[in-house]
């Protein structure tokens, strides 16, 4: 057979196969999705299965790709910039979202599909993904801060985990827990680890004390008294009371820090609820018998009981096929905002729901082997009395970067005065063009 003939045959075969593939795909509308957490992709695929059961006439197929956090956001930014190569749907993390809202926004507004559920969801969960009055992303979860304790260590020190109600109680308990167990003159167990290269330890205290990065009016409030107090409190935990130390490797996602937790060198820490997934995912459930979740301590009676940390909004990019837009938006709301979806957020994905009306549903009362066989949801719910809102704005990514690089390092390692830390950050932001 001549080469031309073989080539022609292959070409015909290729066309034939692709046509065959097209007829198969015509049944379900394919939506591509980029995620940086595999759980998110799986959740959306499960949601697509549920959607297909409910809407057999308009089936959907979610094809997701999990890419490393930094690379995924960079790729997305690059593909939106050049106008090609972006997926239909993309996860964008809260610290990165404002980066995407500079210039002409390349995401499609979701206001219409959100409106139906707006009354049921915690509005400030939409705020981070909102620009010019449009909602561009829908989060997966609430991300309320909770305390993670190792009851084994606490009991050894004679501390009852449920006796800790205020931050002052926490420090008092910390003084009992923090100690040199082998008598070599070095402290082996600390009450807490705090992040130096990430924001969560600091932001939680700042927000719960009424501070934060932006206020409701969109103004930068870095140098507020509430922030100064909160950072002073954090610094004192490390240097005055000596109950906390910087997390090994700098943050609560560093491999050496996970080793510290497993080895029982850290008795507690505060992180958003989604950090629960790190216990099976990063620590192979090795703390299953001693790990418990409890509400955050409060600064004062009647004050904020917790706040929100982190988050990831799923957005629809403007590179989606116009015929798919309506379906994609409807599906997004179905997957994340409906009552059933919010129940499954907890039971399926292990994330705290952002619709408050599901919090009374008994379906959420499930025991978890990774957390001493308790029902963690009871404690998460107990902490939601007065949630400090978090507001973001155009310089939210830059503020986070300053905290992650020099801000918290100066505060914790160099013991710089908190007011000076915040003044430095403000000065740097102004040099970048922020006006406040």
């Amino acid at each position: 057979m001549s080469r031309t003939k073989i080539f022609t045959l292959l070409l015909v075969a290729a066309i034939g196969f692709s046509a065959f593939g097209m007829t198969l795909a015509q049944d379900a509308t394919e939506l591509s999705l980029w995620v940086f957490v595999d759980r998110h992709g799986l959740y959306m695929q499960n949601a697509a299965d549920r959607w297909n059961e409910a809407h057999p006439d308009r089936p959907i197929e979610i094809v997701y790709e999990q890419i490393d956090y930094t690379q995924m956001h960079d790729n997305l930014l690059a593909s939106l910039l050049v106008g090609m190569g972006a997926p239909d749907l993309a996860d964008v993390e809260i610290k990165k979202f404002a980066t995407f809202t500079k210039g002409d926004i390349q995401f499609l507004p979701l206001n219409e599909v959100i409106d139906e559920y707006r009354a049921d969801i915690i509005e400030s969960r939409l705020a981070p993904y909102t620009a010019n009055g449009n909602n561009y992303g829908i989060d997966y979860h609430l991300g309320a801060f909770v305390m993670y304790y190792n009851t084994g260590i606490l009991e050894e020190a004679g501390v009852d985990v449920d006796s800790i109600k205020t931050w002052d109680d926490y420090i008092e308990a910390g003084l009992k827990v923090t100690r040199d167990t082998d008598g070599d003159g070095e402290i082996d167990v600390y009450m807490a680890s705090v992040e130096v290269t990430d924001i969560f330890s600091a932001y939680a205290l700042m927000l719960m004390n009424g501070g934060g990065t932006y206020n409701a009016d969109g103004e930068i409030i870095l140098e507020s008294e509430a922030n100064v107090e909160a950072l002073q409190y954090l610094q004192d935990m490390v240097h005055v009371h000596g109950i906390a130390r910087p997390a090994s490797g700098g943050g609560h996602h560093s491999p050496d820090h996970f080793i510290d937790l497993v080895e029982g060198r850290i008795a507690s820490l505060w992180m958003p609820q989604w950090y629960m997934t790190r216990y099976p995912d990063n620590m192979s459930s090795e703390l299953a018998d001693v790990a418990v979740v409890r509400p955050m301590p409060v600064f004062e009676e009647g004050g904020y009981t917790t706040t929100m940390g982190g988050g990831t909004g799923t957005a629809i990019t403007n590179q989606i096929d116009p015929d798919k837009i309506a379906l994609a938006a409807e599906f997004l709301a179905f997957a994340k905002l409906t009552y059933d979806a919010n129940v499954l957020l907890w039971t399926d994905l292990g994330f705290d729901p952002m619709r408050l009306d599901v919090y009374d549903d008994d379906a959420l009362l499930i025991t978890m082997d990774d957390f001493s066989g308790e029902m963690p949801f009871i404690h998460i719910k107990a902490g939601l009395g007065n949630v400090a809102p978090e507001y973001t704005g155009p310089f939210y990514p830059e503020i986070a970067t300053i905290f992650q690089t020099t801000g918290l390092y100066d505060l914790i390692e160099n013991q710089m005065d908190p007011a000076e830390v915040l003044a430095n950050a403000a000065e740097e932001l102004r040099a970048m063009g922020a006006e406040f």
Binding site: F100, G103, S248
Partner: protein, 306 residues
């Protein structure tokens, strides 16, 4: 198959047989890639550095204001200092160490020198993503490096990954691991070119190995050394991947490992300000250009060749 490769001469227009054209025909694949992926982006970056390029929108010309922004950035001087210190650090390690190792490996006094050569060269081929993860474990407080220093020299454990001052030494350590083998290779090719007779006559005159090293090997290796120094400076100023991988996209505690390239990246991909980032890129290119020029003069490569 072979028949089809031997195309009849008449099928190729006469123009392509011209002596001046043929080389470019053969170079075409490389030149195409080079023009699209190197020259075009460089030109574009220079254009962007004069535009207000923030986010996705139409750009307008802003003159030198991006360059002014660069010098206003609080981190710019820190990044410049860090990058310079890093470059000097790599020069101090990555010139003498590979030179000595190359001479040793070449001297015939090392058993199985090929095995060593391969082993030392391997890091240059290793995936940096994997290496970054491994180095995070090596540099951890209970990691290999601390245990090693404690065991051999009795040193206290250092917080390599957590203290700002140790960020650059950590990066230089990774650079040493990665590039020693490569530089040995360069020095080795230089050594091969030194005529053996020089050593023989020196030996007859009673020169010691040390004297031969100083009076023959070092001077004869000058062009090679120059080449390695230039490459190291260019590489040093462009350093990006090592800190990026080691600090998971950040620049280490207190920005201790912040380099110019990382700051460019941060300005472009966190602030979405491609104009200022491009301006910084042009400044970095100028710095490297000036350094290279000084070296060319210093080593007498431009103009007079001795």
């Amino acid at each position: 198959m072979l028949n089809s490769l031997r195309m009849p001469r008449r099928l190729i227009p006469g123009f392509f047989h011209h002596k001046k054209v043929v080389p470019f025909v053969f170079l075409a694949p490389f030149l195409t890639v080079f023009l699209i992926f190197k020259v075009y982006p460089v030109i574009l970056a220079i254009i962007m550095s004069f535009q207000n390029f923030q986010g996705v929108k139409s750009q307008d010309w802003v003159g030198l204001s991006n360059y002014e922004n660069v010098f206003e950035l609080v981190r710019f001087s820190q990044a410049l200092t860090n990058t310079t210190v890093y470059t000097i650090g790599t020069l101090l390690v990555l010139i003498p160490l590979p030179l000595v190792l190359a001479v040793l490996l070449d001297s015939g006094r090392v058993v199985a020198s090929t095995v060593f050569r391969v082993l030392i060269f391997l890091p240059a081929l290793t995936s940096l993503v994997v290496a970054g993860t491994v180095f995070r474990l090596i540099l951890a407080k209970d990691g290999f490096l601390n245990l090693f220093l404690e065991g051999t020299l009795g040193l206290d454990r250092l917080r390599w990954l957590e203290v700002s001052e140790l960020a650059l030494p950590s990066l230089i350590l990774i650079a040493t691991w990665r590039w020693t083998g490569m530089n040995i290779l360069y020095f080795n090719s230089g050594l091969v070119n030194i005529p053996q007779e020089l050593y023989e006559s020196a030996a007859i005159d009673g020169a010691s190995p040390w004297k031969m090293f100083l009076s023959i090997t070092l001077p004869m290796l000058r062009p090679t050394t120059f080449f390695v120094v230039v490459l190291s400076i260019i590489g040093g100023y462009q350093v990006f991947v090592e800190p990026f991988i080691l600090y998971a996209g950040g620049a280490g505690p207190g920005d201790g490992g912040l380099t110019l390239a990382l700051l460019i990246y941060r300005t472009a991909f966190t602030s979405f300000n491609f104009g200022t980032a491009a301006a910084m890129g042009v400044i970095l290119a100028l710095i490297i250009f000036v350094f290279s020029l000084i070296q060319f003069r210093f080593f007498g490569v431009l103009g007079r060749e001795d």
